[in-house]
């Protein structure tokens, strides 16, 4: 076998990188983001403290660009390229996997557009020093609120299906049973993220802090 034959053409590596970045770092960041933001469910002060903690990490720009923005741009950009190269046929073959194939593309685009908007308003306009008050004010706009809910649900769905795809595409789940289990796990992640995400939004919108009782009595 000649050396050139073993050289994979770049589309293999790019596809693999696309699949990988969806989980790490993009999916992992979504988990971190929901975890940090759920501080709002305790109190305004806890949210602001958590935000400040993150806003003052050393090498912040490097971390933001290297671990969040660039991987997301690549995942989203290459995802659109993949979408264009496919040709959905869910009306002729309405099987579950085929539905997920199609919805994965739409939810990806919605999530991408939403994240861009979310970054512009809560990262760019606030110069990276957003507070509880900033977000709560944005949430008073019903259009903004609706976009938030749709964006959070689309991102959660996309991650849930993505976990299933990842398990299949890397051969981690290589039997029908294992793929079903991976699908159930993906569904669990998607639903959990969706519920937690919406709860966080409600917390900002209605100044609602269901875990405030955790705080020491004053």
């Amino acid at each position: 076998m000649s050396a050139t034959e073993t050289q994979p053409d770049s589309s293999y590596l790019l596809r693999k990188l696309h699949s990988f970045t969806g989980i790490l770092p993009v999916g992992a960041f979504l988990a971190e983001h929901f975890w940090s933001n759920s501080a709002a469910l305790v109190s305004r002060a806890k949210y602001d403290a958590t935000s400040e903690e993150l806003q003052t990490i050393p090498f912040r720009l490097l971390v933001e660009w290297g671990a969040i923005f660039l991987p997301m741009l690549f995942h989203g950009g290459y995802g659109i390229y993949i979408w264009i190269k496919g040709k959905s046929n869910v009306s002729a073959y309405p099987w579950v996997g085929n539905w997920l194939y199609t919805t994965q593309r739409y939810t990806g685009l919605i999530a991408f557009a939403y994240i861009a908007w979310h970054l512009y308003t809560e990262r760019w306009l606030t110069h990276g020093k957003s507070t509880y008050e900033n977000v709560a004010q944005d949430m008073q706009n019903p259009w903004y609120l609706a976009f938030f809910v749709i964006g959070v649900l689309a991102s959660s769905f996309h991650l849930g299906v993505g976990i299933w795809n990842f398990a299949c595409k890397w051969g981690l789940a290589a039997t029908v049973k294992a793929q079903q289990a991976a699908g159930r796990f993906g569904a669990l992640v998607g639903v959990t993220f969706g519920v937690v995400g919406v709860l966080i939004i409600l917390s900002f919108r209605f100044d609602w802090h269901p875990f405030s009782a955790y705080l020491p009595n004053k």
């Binding site: 076998m1 034959e5 073993t6 994979p8 053409d9 589309s11 293999y12 590596l13 596809r15 693999k16 993949i82 264009i84 190269k85 496919g86 040709k87 959905s88 046929n89 002729a92 073959y93 099987w95 996997g97 085929n98 997920l100 194939y101 299933w164 795809n165 299949c168 595409k169 890397w170 051969g171 981690l172 789940a173 290589a174 039997t175 029908v176 793929q179």
Partner: protein, 250 residues
């Protein structure tokens, strides 16, 4: 005799790849156990359309009539399936018959599936046992491996899995599920495994396994019930280990 049962069939026809397509409708006499191939034969016997116009027999591929040769895959009521096992009594009428849409059309229902055979050649979907001298007996194959391989060996290269795959289209060179499953089959065999890395390398190339997007339509459409999605996952694991770790572990 007025209530003799009739079968209404609509066939998409095209005299050549660049000619315009048209639909012709036929009214055939029902027979017990009638399948779509029998309909096409009846039309060939008496090529007259439903409204009495004389036409030509329909061009189509078929051979074994028992879902074993793979040649008669076509779109029947919009779905890819084998015409020989498509029973008229189980189909909604009028029965719409069209050629597969993902392969170059030759004429009427005949398509050119050379792409699949070229892909099989690219992945070396065979076991090299010929030499200039007697190579002797090959290694023994465990019953467990035989059991894994047998369902994969049932592939008839009909092209149904490519037809239903959203990733197979005019913008892509994706080789499709059947080819990937054949790589798994030949890599399972101890003699075939001697060319394992060459097959995996071919699947990293243009139209390789990376183009699978896990819609999993292939496994539903396969007339031979081949576990195609399991094959793709299993081969995927081998390919990335070779592609990403090959330079480390050889």
């Amino acid at each position: 005799m007025a209530d003799a049962k009739l079968v209404i069939v609509k066939v998409k026809r095209q005299t050549g790849p660049k000619e315009p397509a048209r639909w012709e409708e036929f009214s055939l006499k029902w027979r017990p156990s009638m399948n779509v191939i029998i309909c096409l034969r009846d039309i060939a016997e008496n090529p007259v359309t439903r409204d009495g116009k004389k036409t030509t027999p329909i061009s189509y591929d078929s051979n074994c009539l028992e879902e074993i040769c793979g040649s008669c895959a076509m779109l029947i009521n919009g779905k890819a399936r084998m015409a020989c096992s498509a029973l008229v009594d189980q189909l909604e009428q009028p029965i719409r018959i069209e050629p597969l849409s993902k392969f170059p059309l030759v004429r009427d229902l005949t398509v050119d599936r050379q792409f699949m055979f070229e892909s099989l050649k690219r992945v070396k979907a065979w076991i090299p046992i010929d030499g200039t001298y007697d190579l002797g007996e090959g290694p023994r194959v465990s019953p467990e491996t035989q059991e894994q391989g047998y369902p994969l060996s049932n592939c008839i290269s009909c092209g149904s899995c490519l037809e239903v795959c959203p990733q197979v289209n005019e913008h892509s060179q994706f080789m499709g599920a059947a080819i990937i499953s054949q790589v798994r089959l030949f890599n399972l065999h101890p003699t075939g495994a001697m060319n394992k890395n060459e097959r995996l390398a071919a699947l990293m190339g243009p139209g390789g396994i990376q183009d699978c997007a896990n819609a999993q339509n292939c496994v539903h459409a396969c007339p031979k019930n081949i576990p195609l999605t399991e094959s793709i996952a299993a081969v995927n694991r081998e390919v990335w280990k070779q592609a990403l770790l090959g330079w480390l572990v050889g």
